[in-house]
């Protein structure tokens, strides 16, 4: 647990350094040749994650126009069993779940802690910072595969209607028949060249759950819970960070994600991040 806490701090440092980093134009890093896609800067719309209310009544999160200011380097595919196992063999990552025995399929049954630990480990191995995407970054990378989760509008005096509407939306979603992890590419490639978004795996993001109230265009965050992170896939969900099997993480009457996996963002090395990175490395070594 102590080790995980330290890694969490390390990841936080990395995440904080990210915006600074983005403006540093360093030569492209040497990365895993099999799978980093470079996404050109572009604008996109993003539905804020979390629980929002206006005048005390629940409302959908605000829709925002965002721009990716610089290239985003993101894994084409989800982290595979073979990749994750190297981290396990070196004693850095915990062994998870009982896998099907296939090594070319994405690793599933990983918690946010497992995914973050892997990111810290691969960063150390390669000398290049890898991290989980923010929910905004995932949405940008997923492009047309990202589903806008706006809830149907309901009579605010009747909470059951929103509840039933959400239940019906979840129940009517078409889900892949196959629940076991499939080889990369099975669920198609999106317009940005990334594979298997919104297939049968939900991907961890680094975005914390928030509760916020809206007043005009002003937003006031009243609660931030980083013990719950946003996971993205065929629909957006909020998942307690130590959950590996999403069925246990859901509520009594909803449709939980099928599997939990992840893909990583790769940072270009630069002065600012190098410093943060060294700190992360120190933390890891001490752990």
């Amino acid at each position: 647990m102590l080790m995980l806490m330290k890694i969490k701090i390390a990841m936080l440092v990395g995440a904080l350094a990210a915006p600074v980093l983005a403006t540093v134009l360093a030569p492209p890093p040497q990365v895993d040749p099999e799978g980093i896609s470079r996404l050109a800067p572009a604008s996109f719309s993003y539905r804020a994650a979390g629980d929002f209310s206006r005048s005390g009544k629940p409302v959908e999160g605000p829709l925002r126009g965002l721009g990716s200011p610089t290239e985003l380097l993101v894994m084409k595919r989800q982290v595979t069993v073979a990749e994750y196992d190297r981290c396990v063999e070196e004693g850095a990552c915990p062994r998870v779940g009982s896998q099907s025995g296939r090594r070319d399929v994405p690793i599933v049954g990983v918690s946010w802690h497992d995914a973050s630990t892997y990111a810290a480990w691969i960063s150390l191995k390669t000398g290049v910072t890898h991290r989980l995407p923010t929910d905004e970054e995932w949405t940008f990378a997923a492009a047309e595969k990202a589903r806008d989760e706006a809830l149907p509008l309901v009579d605010p005096a009747d909470p059951a209607q929103a509840w039933i509407a959400r239940y019906e939306t979840e129940s009517n979603r078409s889900r892949p028949a196959e629940t076991a992890p499939q080889p990369g590419g099975t669920f198609g490639t999106n317009s940005k060249g990334l594979d298997d978004l919104a297939g049968n795996i939900w991907e961890w993001t680094d975005t914390c759950f928030i509760r916020a109230s809206l007043d005009g265009n002003r937003e006031q965050v009243t609660n931030t819970n980083c013990g719950v992170r946003v996971v993205e896939g065929a629909h957006r969900a909020y998942m307690t960070d130590f959950i590996r099997d999403p069925k246990s993480g859901g509520c009594a009457a909803g449709v939980p994600p099928t599997n939990l996996g992840f893909r990583l963002i790769v940072e270009r090395p630069g002065a600012a991040v190098a410093d943060a990175f060294r700190k992360a490395v120190k933390l890891l070594r001490r752990a």
Partner: protein, 375 residues
Amino acid sequence: MLTRRTALMGAAIAALMMTAPVVAETADELKLPREKVTLVAPPAVHPHEQATKSGPKIIEFKLTIREKEVVIDSAGTKFWAMTYDGSMPGPMMVLHEGDYMELTLVNPETNSMPHNIDLHSATGGLGGGALTKVNPGEQVKLRWKATRPGVFVYHCAPEGMIPWHVVSGMHGTVMVLPRDGLKDGAGKSLHYDKIYYIGENDLYVPKDENGKYKTYETVGESYADTTEVMRKLIPTHVVFNGSVGSLTGKNAMTAKVGETVLIVHSQANRDTRPHLIGGHGDYVWETGKFNNPPEKDLETWFVRGGSAGAALYTFREPGIYAYVNHNLIEAVELGAAAHFKVEGKWNDDLMKQVTPPSPVPPDKVGTADPVAVTR
């Protein structure tokens, strides 16, 4: 030219003609009106009267036994089921006290095993088990008189492998209604607008050395391994109506605010404790027998293994209700959960969120604390 094949066919036809008079309908010595019921798969129940003004009848039912491989969870785990009419549990059969059930039990020759039926509602002959053993390619007709009102389990009971057939899906429910319908303890009539029938299964699926569920070519090949898992008494799945999630999402049960629903819960093998999250049991026949006054206002009711219970509830608030086995490990981890989707107008008097989740106010002891002010 007489080939061997036609000779055999000829012999078969001759055999059929010889036996035909023996298996033909016996004379109806009862001289009662007859009614034929078409069964439907759970959670639905075939149309029926609650109270009836008509006199006793002979009600004809037919159950066809089907051995088949089914999928029991969202991970695609395969399981060799043995079923009455293809569903787990088998269909509910409804009649009234004083009626006779005439049941035709068919074991098609595509099946591999002998089966029979033990009806807990019937008297004598091991509940019918002693008179209904049919091999693949055979059928049998049993008549029994409904003498006690209630919901009762029926199940397969072949010598030597009763529990295996039962936990493989061969169980269902008979409902014998009082001729004048259901009553509360004071003799007031009770009615339901809807009935739902839930059969709970404890399943014991063998795993290989890597912890993966095993699959088998035939139902017979799964016997030895399955028995070994059964003997440890720890099910791998506890499900409603044959599979995890069979009564959730698009298959969720439905009701409207103000509607009264009779929920019949049947467990042929193992104890369970149904609970409606956010609701109650207005009137509950926990042991399922209608000559006993129903208990009122229950939170959870206990259904003994080998019995069925019935709960009557009028929905008062809209929303999604989870109906679970309130051993919540069995509900959430092993699958024993269903949902009701209830439409209607929200009643603030019964429940209201007075203040939505918001930050805990700063500690103002000694300043704005009303107690301090009045002092």
